[in-house]
Amino acid sequence: MELNLFQKINETTWQISAHGNMRVPAIIYASEEIIQNMDNKVYEQLCNVAGLPGIVDKAYAMPDAHWGYGFPIGGVAAFDPEHGGVVSAGGVGFDISCGVRLLHTGMKIDELRSQLPAIADLLYNAVPSGVGSKSRIKLTDKEMKDMLQGGARWALHQGFGESEDLEFIEEHGHMTGARPEYISARAKERQRPEMGTLGSGNHYLELQEVKTIDDPIAAEALGLSLGDAVISIHCGSRGLGHQIGTDYLRDMLVESKKHGINLPDRELACAPIHSEIGEHYLGAMRGGINCALANRQIITHFTREAFQKMFPNSNLRLVYDVSHNTCKSEWHEVDGERKNLFVHRKGATRAWGPDHAELPKKYSTIGQPIFIGGSMGIGSYVLVGTKKAESLSFSSACHGAGRSMSRTEATKIWRGSELIESLKEQGIFIRSGTYRGVAEEAPEAYKNLFSVVDSAAAAELAIKVAHLAPHACIKG
């Protein structure tokens, strides 16, 4: 994008003045280099979001922003229900509550190094992944309803996990306000055989090493030391979330006209929060959040079971679980007034600063853990939220490196089998049911993780804590 489209506030803050149909200004947080390489669609989509009814303060885009559906991916926007604020299915996305959870193995990578191929096989066989995969769990109607209302707490009661886990999951593993009756039969059918499945595309389960530490105090609070072996799990609400997104995107397209909402782009299909369809979507979407939390909880259980087969005394501790496709009701201060707002984060995480009431006690002094996914060649990054992010971005930060190349382009350049061999030579063992899928996920098809993370840190949205380098990666 051209830099002259923006008012430069500082090195990583670029403001778009309210113009045309925009009700509020917009801000992109990114370095000059990232802005210059960012898709023009982000500018267009962010301006469109800034024109939606009831939007508060500003529309924001994180350093990993790219072209999305109506909302840019990496977009954050808050709406006031008392001033005609809207909720948008496209502002949450198809993979509701997709997120990352981090487990600590309690071991050093050096203890595992000689067994990495076997561990990769073990994890690949333990967690169903890829197109057509099915879980060994199949929910009854009653179990489906309970899961949609209970989230990870439900999973725990079914024997998947340990009670200590819940404190380290957003919403304590249970999103209140879920209304299973507003979720279609099709969505429930899609989910029935998919509990505890990883999915495909950019979803992964990765054995990683704490490679570098930027903030020793935060790392210590999180229990992370150099050389520690950890596991990252990236997945979401599977078929249920996809179908809720499909159903409500279409319904909102029809309903926005009835509510007199003038959409510059029909992908912004939305409905007033205080409307029948708005409330139905929120109830369904919260069920989707619970589904994602339950799904990651079950995958955690499968991972623990697998690890115990090889390491009987292992105890995989949940470090934290954070979602990045959500709309949540939160209290924020705007112009000196505390307001209950509906904050959409589409490809963006929450980033509470220290002392926030919703943080686990153990992390109250450091802020909320944030996990940023990169690629299977580079791994991921751990950050923590800042108090300043409250006024900068409704306490939000980036969620991933983001793609730099389309899937079609990637398959023309790389072959899956060659990539797997090349990564093996670097000590990274890939397990996947699909060579083509691996080619589409080639490390070089992703942007530079470190640039994105550095921008988030420079903008003071979050503080860098540790880089996690990959050793074994399960791809769907």
Partner: protein, 143 residues
Amino acid sequence: MATLTEQNTFELFPHVADIGIRGQGQTMEKAFEMAAMALTSVVTDPQNVSPTIHVRIHLEEKDPELLFLDWINSVIYEMDIKRMLFSVYEVSIKSGVLEAQIKGETVDLHKHDPAVDIKGATLTELKVIDLNGQWLAQCVVDV
């Protein structure tokens, strides 16, 4: 039935995070069939999919673009729920009523090397257009 000819074609078009599907044909029905072939090609080469199992789809929607959205989402639903891939699409559309028979087989990892699950059809780049007797139907799908 969806058969590739000079007039009936399908292709994928790039989108940074996801994939666009495009079908072209001499009628709206053919364009819908071809776009569904493009949908299959997001996951695997349709030529590797045997049309052994038949599934019927019935839809009603007067707006051609919304009908196309519903069509693609219905195929995605059938792929997901039945763990299938499809290679033959037979579509008829009369006064906003779509009747289709689609044929395919259960996903086989070794045979199909399936690249990715498709989550849903988006409104991005959604178009159903008659270009002087040559129909085009397209949208971006979220993967």
